[in-house]
């Protein structure tokens, strides 16, 4: 008889692994990415491919150089690359994108200890870095060969009202913006996949969008109780992409059930403030990385009480 394996129970494991989760995220991002290629053409395709493959290559090279185990097969670098590509305008210079990939993988992810240790979403960290470093290129949105503002720029309080896009165009995605953010319907198709496969909890995206929409409806200067305006704000910019695919990033969102709610509320409020009162029409990326930094504090105050806890008032005192 060959040697028996002995280990502490449990002796069985579930089907999900880090790799299958990342694979599901890639699948879920595909409809939005394909629509981006349809909307912006071959330039978009190139940006997406560069994002994915350069991120994988940089991670592999870095890990090999540092004599660490190369872990690109877990697909997390591919997810970062695809998300980063989807967060760029279609004419963005490729060498700058490579710089962005290096920033995401090396600075945001590997320097903090690799997968699971980064405190902000690598793709978003890189987007914000590129926004500061190459502002002109990052805000040069070209569609059908013509540079034009995004719908959010039209919607911004005090912005020009000319060329206000239709809600349908914003919902379907035939508007200007970064490659992967424009189509609500295609992004939602992927989001539904993630929800059905239980890869993401519905709490964060729905509360985030709900709080944001509510504040827009009630509090936007000049657009109070303007339902159409609210819908356009929800469909415009990076909200759908951010809420379903980036705010839900496991590593950089709270693991406590109530923490997820608090995190989502904070995201909604901060996105509203950034979009309405900030210098730019966009606010989702900054809101998410800002809230990423709050996660350790949010977790600390939302540790759940164990099963059967309420009945023990005496002991509760002892712990607080």
């Amino acid at each position: 008889m060959s040697l028996l394996k002995v280990s502490e129970s449990p002796h069985v494991r579930g089907r999900k692994s880090t790799q299958t989760i990342m694979r599901d995220v890639l699948i879920a991002l595909t409809p939005g990415a394909i629509f981006g290629i349809y909307n912006f053409g071959v330039n978009a395709l190139i940006r997406l491919l560069v994002g994915v493959f350069v991120c994988i290559a940089i991670e592999a090279i870095y890990q090999a150089a540092m004599k660490k185990k190369v872990t690109v097969s877990d697909l997390s670098a591919a997810v970062t690359g695809l998300l980063l590509g989807m967060n760029l305008p279609s004419e963005f210079p490729i060498w700058m994108e490579v710089v962005g990939c290096a920033f995401a993988i090396i600075v945001v992810k590997q320097l903090f200890g690799g997968l699971g240790q980064n405190f902000m979403n690598p793709a978003l960290g890189a987007r914000c870095f590129l926004m500061l470093a190459y502002t002109a290129q990052m805000t040069n949105y070209v569609m059908d060969g013509v540079s034009s503002p995004t719908p959010l720029a039209f919607l911004k309080p005090g912005g020009e009202a000319v060329g206000d896009p239709s809600l349908w165009d914003m919902f379907f995605g035939s508007v200007n913006g970064v490659i992967g953010e424009t189509s609500v319907i295609f992004l939602m198709a992927g989001a539904v996949y993630l929800l059905v496969r239980r890869e993401i909890s519905p709490k964060i995206p729905f509360i985030y969008i709900g709080v944001f929409a509510g504040m827009v409806f009630l509090l936007t200067p000049g657009h109070n109780f303007d339902f159409m305006y609210m819908l356009k704000e929800v469909c415009g910019g990076g909200l759908i992409l951010g809420a379903f695919f980036m705010a839900t990033d496991y590593v950089t969102s709270p693991t406590t059930p109530n923490g997820k709610i608090l995190f989502a509320v904070a995201l909604g409020v901060i996105t509203f403030i950034f979009r309405m009162f900030g210098g730019s029409a966009e606010g989702v990326s900054y809101a998410i990385i800002f809230c990423n930094i709050l996660v350790p504090f949010i977790e600390k105050v939302t540790i759940p009480k164990p099963f059967g806890w309420e009945k023990q008032k005496k002991e509760a005192k002892g712990h607080e």
């Binding site: 699971g116 590593v251 759940p304």
Partner: protein, 443 residues
């Protein structure tokens, strides 16, 4: 009431392999081994020595304290020796080894009518029979059934959930010996005059629910509650919640809240002990897994080697990677099949492939899967990190001691981190440190 709890998992059940196999009797051929420690609490004290002749059902080791249990020989024969032998849960223990003479001559068993017995007499009979919790914990049943204020007990929760994968021994007891089981419940209810019995059975066992309902019709004190099929439904706290709606924290004793929990097989044995006067010398064991030639349920004489049980089931199909004493979620991996069947051995599993060693561990990605499945609503991710750092103070502040060691967290972890294993080790270390402190304080 939703008849279930929050969290939990749906591991591969495997019960189809054996659920329709009626119990077969397995007569042992080799020597029998009786560890003096096969229950929770103090080891029993041997009362026989090498060379003594014993009868089946004769006491060979006596309970040494309140939380301890008598041990009986399951066969007639001669005591060969008293020495250290391997346990099916790992490690070794002092054991009484008996040579079976193959005649099964029995000690005298005194039957009685529970109607004519006082509470103390009933408890005395249960205690004498050496009955312990047969779901796995092995806590002496007479202790369980005699809470300090027995009048204040509102519920006797009868555990027939059998949520552990592969196991069908409780199922067969419910199905094949329904009358004895109900009789055992009635005896337990005599001890707790104000209690109602609720039998919790997972809804994947409709035949058992039907059989029980057929026997309890018209009895206002006993009801059968189908509970949702989900692991760990058969854990005390989750079952109490699913059947009565009461939330009792895992660090308290349930009888402080007026609830006593007992397993169906234990209560079947209560009936055997009180009505027939028979001590606990046999139990039902499931032999199953994808590597067993003829899976089945066996009534085994305690002390029989696992190897004999394996042979009775036709051996393995191929070289297995893992043998388990118990189920896949909480059972013990075995390395030596010469270890004996004890009072708490519910199953022997043989698996072709070991899922644990074929899955390498990766870094935590904070997916919170473990948090969402934890039936105690703890944060296994956080607790395991604190455990690995040895930070026992923060571990306790984050309610680490509430862990019931069900293993759901390790099961779901996509990074295959042994969360439960870390948490359990630290819980154990904290307990040991506290015991040392108490000892120092006393001396």
């Amino acid at each position: 009431m939703s008849n279930t709890f929050k969290g939990g998992i749906h591991p591969f059940g495997g019960k189809e392999l054996t659920k329709d196999k009626p119990i077969q009797e397995l007569k042992p051929s080799g020597e029998l081994v009786f560890p003096v420690s096969q229950h929770a609490g103090a080891p029993a004290t041997p009362v026989v020595k090498a060379g003594d002749a014993v009868l089946a059902g004769q006491v060979i080791a006596e309970a040494s304290s309140a939380v301890s249990a008598n041990i009986h020989s399951s066969v007639s024969g001669t005591v060969k020796k008293v020495e250290m032998r391997p346990l099916p849960t790992g490690g070794k223990a002092m054991s009484i080894v008996i040579e079976n003479d193959g005649e099964y001559r029995e000690a005298e068993f005194v039957p009685s009518d529970p109607e004519n017995l006082t509470k103390e007499e009933i408890l005395q009979k249960i205690r004498a029979a050496g009955i312990v919790g047969m779901g796995g914990a092995g806590f002496p049943v007479d202790q369980k059934l005699s809470p300090e204020e027995s009048d204040s007990i509102k519920y006797l929760v009868v555990n027939g959930a059998e949520c552990e994968p592969y196991l069908t021994s409780d199922y067969r007891v419910m199905l094949d010996t329904t009358d004895e089981l109900i009789g055992g419940i009635k005896i337990a209810l005599k001890l707790m005059p104000n209690a109602k019995a609720v039998i919790g059975v997972e809804d994947n066992k409709p035949e058992a629910i039907k059989a029980i309902n057929g026997k309890i019709a018209g009895d206002p004190r006993i009801s059968c509650v189908p509970v949702k099929t989900k692991y760990p439904q058969g854990s005390d706290r989750t079952l109490i919640y699913a059947t009565t709606g009461m939330k009792i924290k895992s660090t308290a004793h349930s009888n402080e809240y007026g609830v006593v929990v007992s397993n169906v097989t234990s209560l079947y044995n209560v009936y055997e002990a009180v009505v027939k006067g028979r001590p606990l010398t046999r139990r039902t064991v499931t032999v199953s897994g994808d590597d067993i030639s003829n899976p089945g349920n066996f009534r085994v004489y305690l002390g029989t080697a696992f190897q004999e049980l394996l042979d009775a089931a036709g051996g393995t199909v191929q070289d297995p990677e893992k043998f388990i004493n118990g189920g896949t979620m909480m059972g013990f991996a075995m390395y030596d099949l010469s270890a004996p069947i004890t009072k708490t051995s519910g199953a022997l599993l043989a698996l072709k492939k070991d899922e644990v060693s074929s899955h390498p561990t990766g870094p935590c990605i904070s997916c919170a899967s473990c948090v969402s499945v934890c039936p105690m609503q703890l944060m296994p991710n956080k607790l395991a990190k604190l455990a690995d750092k040895g930070n026992t103070e923060e571990f306790e502040k984050n309610y680490g001691s509430y862990c019931i060691e069900c293993g759901c967290c390790s099961y779901v972890c996509p990074a295959r981190i042994p969360l439960k294993q870390s948490i359990k080790a630290t819980k154990k270390a904290i307990k040991a440190a506290k015991r040392r402190e108490r000892q120092v304080a006393r001396s």
